[in-house]
Subunit: 343 residues, 3 copies
Amino acid sequence: MSEDHPLFEQGRHLLSVSQFTRENLRAFFDLADAVDPIAKRQAVCTVLDGAMLGSLFFEPSTRTRLSFESAFLRLGGEVTTTTGFTFSSMAKGESIADTSRVVSGYSDVLVVRHPDKGSVAEFAEASTVPVINAGDGAGEHPSQALLDVYTLDKELTDRGKTIDGCHMAIIGDLKFGRTVHSLMKLMSLYKDLTFTVFSPVSLELPTEIEQYAVRHGHRVHVTGTVVEAVTGADAVYATRVQRERMTEELAQANTQGDLLNWSILAEANNLEAIIMHPLPRDSRPDSYDLSSDVDDLPGLAIFHQTDNGLNVRMAIFLTALGVSIEAVNLTTKQRPWKATLRS
Amino acid sequence: MSEDHPLFEQGRHLLSVSQFTRENLRAFFDLADAVDPIAKRQAVCTVLDGAMLGSLFFEPSTRTRLSFESAFLRLGGEVTTTTGFTFSSMAKGESIADTSRVVSGYSDVLVVRHPDKGSVAEFAEASTVPVINAGDGAGEHPSQALLDVYTLDKELTDRGKTIDGCHMAIIGDLKFGRTVHSLMKLMSLYKDLTFTVFSPVSLELPTEIEQYAVRHGHRVHVTGTVVEAVTGADAVYATRVQRERMTEELAQANTQGDLLNWSILAEANNLEAIIMHPLPRDSRPDSYDLSSDVDDLPGLAIFHQTDNGLNVRMAIFLTALGVSIEAVNLTTKQRPWKATLRS
Amino acid sequence: MSEDHPLFEQGRHLLSVSQFTRENLRAFFDLADAVDPIAKRQAVCTVLDGAMLGSLFFEPSTRTRLSFESAFLRLGGEVTTTTGFTFSSMAKGESIADTSRVVSGYSDVLVVRHPDKGSVAEFAEASTVPVINAGDGAGEHPSQALLDVYTLDKELTDRGKTIDGCHMAIIGDLKFGRTVHSLMKLMSLYKDLTFTVFSPVSLELPTEIEQYAVRHGHRVHVTGTVVEAVTGADAVYATRVQRERMTEELAQANTQGDLLNWSILAEANNLEAIIMHPLPRDSRPDSYDLSSDVDDLPGLAIFHQTDNGLNVRMAIFLTALGVSIEAVNLTTKQRPWKATLRS
């Protein structure tokens, strides 16, 4: 799957989920597991002492930015931050190549988010240090897919299951939902999967994504209702539907009430399902999204996803900068402060 | 005074000055004293090595933000910063609870400023780590009141006096000035105070604040002029009056010239008084505020307040994260750089 | 040259290139050389452990900000950042003096950029710690001139030459281009220079700058074409011409095609010249700037300038904070991460 894309390893950009094989994905997840004491604040690490992250968000995405920055800082590195649509220099006509060449001279690794598909790859082309794609419009957002699959793997393992052979329901906006496409591509590295998908009319899964999964030996069943999609699923992955994506008629016909809630899971006889969502979820009264009435269900994994994002982004930085888990362990120690909240 | 509010200690949010008793306020100030060599740049501390502050300013307040961030950094911690009216995720309909739960997963303590009263408490409700209220609109701004009382205590001690039994003049906007309300509440923990207050018509001290002080055994005298308020006072606390708070007639009638200046203090025969202000002071020609012609007076304490803000905010973080002064001292050392300015 | 301006050394503000003599400039460049292993990521330094930079950009300049912040962080210090036209407190009428006094209480050194000439000096007046001028409108931007001369020195040395006796072509907007003025002033500390200058009509070099160079024993030749200016030059320094600076007629008459490109250098028989530019360069189709078709020429030094900016800004901080190179070396060590990019 990586003909065009070199494997993600030391000294390489991370631009696409296509840079992973089943083998290096497993090694990558082992690294994400190994940094868990640091991510969970049980230990302090200084392995990236003196290393500099350039965090460049040409498009706002506060939480993705905070997650990357926290991951780098927790490994002992330092961060410079730039947010906003454009650099002041780019407003004066500077090319992406010049901006990238200059800024990469100040940093050891760059995290770049940009609204235009392909622009992060263009940025990487001129950089002298590894570039991590934090989302390029309709393109890719590989760290999101990695944390989704990492979380799914952990949740299934907790239940004595594996991703191999699992049944995944994917519901919501399957057309414009970039995360769903990257997720299905990355999951396709596993074996014998069943996807049951549901979307409002006009927001269907693109044929090339469906065929990609099928070509890799998986089953994709398009269903007509969420109840049908969710029935028997090990996990359900819900994505926000932006009403403005639909005509008014379709919006009314397709989106009465919630996309997914307690009643729907109960009707599907599946209140134990693992519940995932890339967040944010829309909590406004007229939204068609995951209801917060599922928040006490045992399978709720949406905050495990964001928490696991730290592990995954630490593993990204360690990989790009060629740091072994042995080096991490050598620089990890206890600390005199407590972050626990008293009830 | 803390029936509704748990004492501020390790693992607790700091939302209100009501979380202090006379006893834990004294212990808190002792901690603020103990970190003075670090605040004064005579020593370097690494006790918060690996700890992460999430600094979230939904409303701009540059200096409050810089003070909190500097305090955390000087203790050896790291900071991620977010400023602006809202998170990009909140613009997409995310609830305060979801935002808080996600962001608290990246941090060990959060400092939150928000324009709406009560919203910081709502944020704290869903957080997995301690939340420090850095101002919630018309609500509270406890670190300001703490640094005000801490400064007053030090200034009075320097003059062989104590807060117990002191005479405090409070002048300016006493109605909308949040800092005045928190200050009088926190000072009410002491004994036998005399408050002389002055405000322009329509900006009077609310009855409940006056009664709060009286109920705690203090005297509150409402005066008709600043000279009268300031006469005999050990200290005078001036707060900015925003002209737009008053009708035009009242503005003209009440606010000719400065709120407080050298002449007024001379007329009150009190050029030695301790002079305090929460800052910023309005230096524009038509402002009705503290004049800069008092800046050479011996009692000017306004920059002692901002400097002491570092000590107080360090003490807040050490308390919330359960760090003892012994742990601080063990990780404090000399440094090879000098921050002194050559004349 | 420093009658009005004290020499730049420990405990002093850096406001102007006039604070350098030939001797302390050489010592300053030696310091910039000495930190090269840190700037080039071959070693990690902690000498500024616990020191705090206040980075205050009242006018946006992303790359200047990132360069200063990276330099400070690479020396082991910490940074608080403020960007935007004004502090929230200044919007409420706070004076520059009050803002400076308060913020300098949180920091050990301040970097200040402001759109108004003289405002950084005003800021410095009230500060309790050293202030570094990062550009004050039409005023000065001393770190830019320092990195320009530092780069020129290194490039000439690599070719067995020196700045003494060199021939420098300076082309573009010589009237409003602040960097050109500071550059010529700082270069005037050297001996026996030849400047050949070219500008579009109405953007000529101010007489006082020309006379300044002449008074210091140098030659300034005004030329009518870029080819003429560049012929025989050891180095050419090009600056962006903003079309809006010229009347439309002049713009058309003066600025057909590029300001400088491969063909012009070939016609001047000088494809080996050192090529410098303060960046950003305008890469839009209708710009009148340095073309990217020179990017493969051996003399291209524009990215050496930005890379050297780290060395120069580290040397600025070490000087202001009185840190010796011995102290730097004592706190420098190897690191377990690699920032190199794999091809």
